[in-house]
Amino acid sequence: MTTKQGFKEIEHTADAALHVWGTTLTEMFQQAALGIYAMAGAQADDSSPIHRSIHLEADDLETLMVNFLSELLFFLDEGFLFQVAALQINQNKLDGELSGSRVVQIQKEIKAVTFHDLQIIRSENCFQTSIVLDI
């Protein structure tokens, strides 16, 4: 982790996995979103953006992460790439404002976000986790 926030693809035999990190929980969630778009090789057109709000609540942060990324994958399947314009995470609740455009290209289909080995680790000034995706 040479930067304060980021994502990196890590080795997984059959599927795909991402390591994501940030100085805050919000940053880490945003990096996870960027990570799955990069992994999918998703590109959007420059049509005027559409906006969508999301509100999620879960029993724990790991479930919140799976729910959040599953939302983005669903939108991708609908043909929209939504960037995170604003995000707030508080007490296992997530409120986000998304800004999206039409997908023009995807290189890889991500079937799902899994709970396998998913554990959000908090250390001083850093949140990080690994996320295994079903390809």
Binding site: E11, H12, F74, D77, Q107, E109, V113, H116, D134
Partner: protein, 483 residues
């Protein structure tokens, strides 16, 4: 971490991790593999995940590991686990996100000699006729009521709507229709995704392969299946698309809480499960059967399109270019079956994730045509390698809940594959081997390079030597569409 010394040798092709290996395991892990495949399996988390699967409540018999095993998420790919229908659980993660991902094989009387000049045109026409790659495609304008019928009827819907012949259904596992489907247990989001994708291949490791019968090992069985030396075949590998992915996503999330409610002690959250007999377990079963039926219908519609295309393109040079059904099966599924364990017959839910049903001769579920030879087992290779047709055996009924392997099984990660291979070079290598390729994406093609998979011949040899399947024919790929 599991070491070779933790594993007991039962024979040259069977191994066991006893239930005493780790506290909390409820069953032995029984591995079908050659010594070298076993050794390779220790390099990733595959066997660790098989041990984790042995924690599922209500297991019956042993957790089985097939020689194509590799690391998945929660439950290994190439794994089989049977749970008691009364006292056991059902686990969506032990079936997989691509519910009823599976394969079907169609064959013809067309000899490759007569069709050689038309293969590229055939590939081109198949690519145009069958939507592949990401996102939408397939039957357009499908209404919700029609989708509901597909969820309930599977391949029967395809037949009623002109996309199937009677023999297609008779030669599909479960006649292409699982009876417990309950559309009320499917989320609106899954429905939305499902409306767009019936009759489409998808991406990733999904493919359509044109091949020829290279070698026959069991002439009688090959005759029964209608497979002749050098005859052209088409294999279709696909699943339930976004519809199935969404259903599994929905229930893995729901079952996080259910596992807590029942105080299940599971080593991996992706194994989240519910008692099969509970309302939650029945809800997932109902939704899973809807996805299974969707996938049966999906492959049937694609088979119909392939059949039309094959006839249209080859009619110029070949006599009777008709594609008939050999067999169609599922390899990511949960099935309610009755098996003999010890002296008892027990009703179980067999979770097969990256594993194929391989019922032996005489079993009531095997189509009449195959009663004497056993159920056909289809083992796709990996673009540049052979695919295989096997049959199930009586020994498989005793040892593996009537199950066998489903493919070659990966050994290299996708990331590793991208470092090792280049798309253009790979395409050229395959073309030099006489394999024509159409790929939705170069990145996808590289990630599915033949070299990232185990040697499918060694995988097949392992199941044959362990007596859970018999060789019938080997197929050589000629042309491949990668989704």
């Amino acid at each position: 971490m599991i070491r070779l010394t933790d594993i007991q040798k039962l024979s040259d092709f069977e191994w066991m991790i006893p239930s005493t290996f780790r506290q909390g395991m409820k069953a032995n892990v029984h591995i079908i593999a050659s010594g070298s495949i076993l050794q390779k399996s220790l390099e990733d988390q595959a066997l660790e995940q098989a041990v984790n699967a042995a924690f599922l409540p209500g297991l019956v018999g042993e957790v089985l590991v097939m020689p194509d095993v590799h690391q998945g998420y929660g439950f290994p790919i190439g794994g089989v686990a049977a749970t008691n229908v009364e006292s056991g659980v059902i686990s969506p993660g032990a079936i997989g996100y691509d519910i009823n991902c599976g394969v079907r094989l169609l064959a013809s009387h067309v000899n490759i000699r007569d069709a050689e000049a038309s293969i590229h045109e055939l590939l081109n026409a198949l690519y145009s006729a069958i939507p592949s790659g990401l996102g939408r495609g397939g039957l357009s304008g499908l209404q919700r009521k029609q989708l509901e019928k597909i969820m309930q009827e599977g391949s029967s819907w395809a037949k009623q709507n002109g996309y199937a012949e009677s023999s297609d259904l008779e030669l599909t596992e479960d006649l292409g229709k699982m009876g417990k489907a309950d559309p009320s247990k499917v989320s609106p989001r899954a429905v939305e995704r499902g409306l767009q994708q019936v009759g489409s291949l998808g991406a990733g490791n999904h493919f359509i392969e044109v091949s020829k019968v290279e070698e026959i090992y069991d002439q009688d069985a090959a005759n029964v299946m209608g497979l002749f030396k050098d005859c052209l075949c088409i294999m279709i590998h696909s699943g339930s698309r976004g519809f199935g992915h969404q259903i599994c996503t929905d229930y893995v999330q729901k079952f996080q809480q259910i596992s807590k409610k029942y105080a299940f002690s599971l080593p991996d959250r992706e194994l989240a499960c519910a008692p099969l007999a509970s309302a939650e377990g029945q809800a997932y079963l109902g939704a899973m059967c809807c996805a299974a039926n969707y996938a049966f219908c999906n492959r049937q519609v694609m088979a119909h399109l392939a059949r039309q295309t094959f006839e249209r393109v080859l009619t110029k040079n070949c006599k009777h270019p008709y594609l008939y059904m050999v067999y169609g099966l599922a390899h990511n599924i949960g099935k309610l079956e009755e098996h003999r364990v010890g002296n008892e017959k027990i009703k179980v839910c067999v979770h097969r994730k990256g594993a194929t049903r391989a019922f032996g001769p005489g079993e009531p579920e095997v189509p009449m045509k195959f009663k004497k030879i056993g159920q056909p087992v289809l083992i796709p290779g990996s673009m540049g390698t052979f695919s295989w047709v096997l049959t199930g055996t009586a020994a498989a009924m005793q040892k593996t809940f009537g199950s066998s392997c489903h493919g070659a099984g990966r050994v290299y990660s996708r990331k590793g594959a991208r470092k090792l291979f280049r798309g253009e070079q790979l395409m050229q290598e395959l073309q030099e081997k006489g394999i024509d390729i159409f790929a939705g994406s170069m990145r996808g093609l590289v990630e599915e390079a033949p070299q990232v998979y185990k040697d499918v011949d060694e995988v097949v040899e392992s199941v044959v030597r362990a007596d859970i399947a018999k060789k019938v024919v080997k197929l050589r790929p000629i042309a491949v569409i990668k989704g």
